[in-house]
Amino acid sequence: MEAIAFYTFSILITGLFLVTVFSRNILYAMSSLAAGMVLISGLFFIMRADFLGAVQLVVYSGAIMALYAFGMMFFDATRDVKEKNSSASSVFLLSGISAVILVAIFAAPAIGEHIKPLVTAAKGLDNTQAIGEILFTKYLIPFEVAAVMLLVAMVAGIVLASKKMDQSLSEIYQDADPENELKEQK
């Protein structure tokens, strides 16, 4: 039962991500990436990691892909993209090598020695509680460091974006060079 579900999900995810890579249409690439992200949460649900599955849905499908989509709105998404490939062979070689290296990195521990859990979850806790307990005891410092990094990134983002935030854009352009404005009007 679980094997059938796993293979269905993996085939669908791989197929959708292949569409993302090979499609020349932004809209197809984006939709298939989003659909793949949704299906990845299915793998978490099969492994009874319900909390991580829902987090995958919220963070990757709900937030990150939606921001990609927001960026894509500045292009004409219904047209095909003309790709500029100066040398197809070097692109093929480089992407092939990086793909092989990535697979090797993730497959090596599984082949060399079977993955063992470093921490065994306390019995009688459900999935969410177990994650919370490990995060706030054994992995407290990495967790807090990640939180501080996110805070730094957020402050930096606000600083970069907030220049002249309380002025409207049209006022800024008018103040900046009124001569240009006049020329355009003429």
């Binding site: 249409n25 809209l27 197809y28 319900d50 849905l57 919220v58 709900g62 921001l67 989509a69 219904t78």
Partner: protein, 327 residues
């Protein structure tokens, strides 16, 4: 195992049928209540008190020409309404709709999938629902559509933050993400309802619920006065109907969430049995959404963002802080 599969399939079909029928009925109720509040009659001509207007609207929707504009991306244009409807119903799968009851000697638990993270799953699935309007707006070759999908992205993303943070305080009180645990926590009368302990969270959740279901003070995605119909500009017939069914299903889901998390869920209320109590509560929230629609004007997009990030989100964070200190 096979019994479990059959039971789940039957439950899924029943929920799907009832909620889609309610969505159709909802349009009639909405028009009648709006008419009542605005001192009009509303639909009156088809059948007694216009009740058969639902059938007339349904026939019109089904028989309209299925139209895809020539510049649009056909595949995505066709998929987008399905995403809205499907995610709305998938979200409903993790919601316990009624208390347990007995039918032909079998104990029926009216929840399609009893996840122990039910609340998080519902929020996540409603969040994924933003792809419907988003892709619809981008797939059609129409500037109003693009504006509609840009507004979808900012509105849904921003208000998802408020929904999550406002629900976090009740989650801290109950100590579980299962909606059934929420219900059991509030057993034993009105005094035990979470709304008395978390009034601020309740109001924040309702406001962001209005934004997430695209209801009127916040229905900027398809604000007719400004951007024609936003993401749904090029849609007609049943494809447009799917967006509508999704929206009504989401309204019902928000009603169920608000009643389960804050208003005692399906616990028996005084002499009212639990099943009727929750139906009354959800009906009240449905009515509240229509009431607010008739009483409040649209707001501007910048006011929407101001409300979310400068008012609601700080309030939600302060609420969590106070809950953490007290509880």
């Amino acid at each position: 195992m096979s019994g479990f599969i059959i039971a789940t399939v039957i439950k899924a079909i029943v929920v799907l049928a009832i909620i889609s029928a309610l969505a159709g009925f909802g349009t009639y109720i909405e028009r009648k209540i709006l008419a009542f509040i605005q001192r009009r009659l509303g639909p009156m001509h088809v059948g007694p008190y216009g009740i058969l207007q639902i059938a007339a609207d349904g026939i019109k929707l089904f028989t309209k020409e299925d139209f895809i504009p020539s510049g649009a991306n056909r595949l995505i244009f066709k998929i987008a309404p399905l995403i809205t409807a499907a995610t709305a119903f998938i979200a409903l799968a993790a919601v316990p709709l009624l208390p347990e009851f007995h039918l032909f000697g079998i104990t029926v638990r009216p929840i399609v999938a009893d996840l122990n993270i039910g609340l998080l799953f519902v929020i996540a699935m409603m969040g994924v629902g933003l792809y419907g309007p988003l892709l619809a707006g981008m797939a059609q070759e129409n500037k109003w559509g693009i504006i509609g999908s840009a507004r979808t992205a900012i509105q849904f993303l921003s208000y998802e933050v408020v929904t999550g943070l406002s629900l976090l305080a009740p989650i801290m009180l109950v100590g579980s993400l299962s909606l059934i645990d929420f219900n059991n926590y509030q057993a034993g009368g009105i005094a035990n309802w979470i709304v008395w302990k978390q009034p601020l969270a309740f109001i924040l959740f309702l406001i962001s619920g209005f934004a997430e279901t695209n209801r009127t003070p916040f229905d900027l995605l398809e604000n007719e006065a400004e951007i024609i119909a936003g993401y749904a500009t090029e849609y007609s017939g049943m494809r447009w109907g799917m967006f509508f069914i999704g929206e009504y299903a989401n309204m019902i889901t928000i009603g169920f969430l608000a009643s389960l998390v804050f208003l005692g869920g399906f616990n028996p209320l005084w002499i009212i049995p639990g099943a009727i109590a929750i139906v009354l509560k959800v009906s009240f929230f449905f009515f509240l959404m229509l009431w607010v629609r008739s009483a409040w004007p649209h707001i501007r997009p910048d006011q929407l963002m101001w409300l979310c990030w400068k008012v609601l989100m700080p309030l939600a964070v302060i609420n969590i802080l106070i809950t953490g200190l007290v509880a």
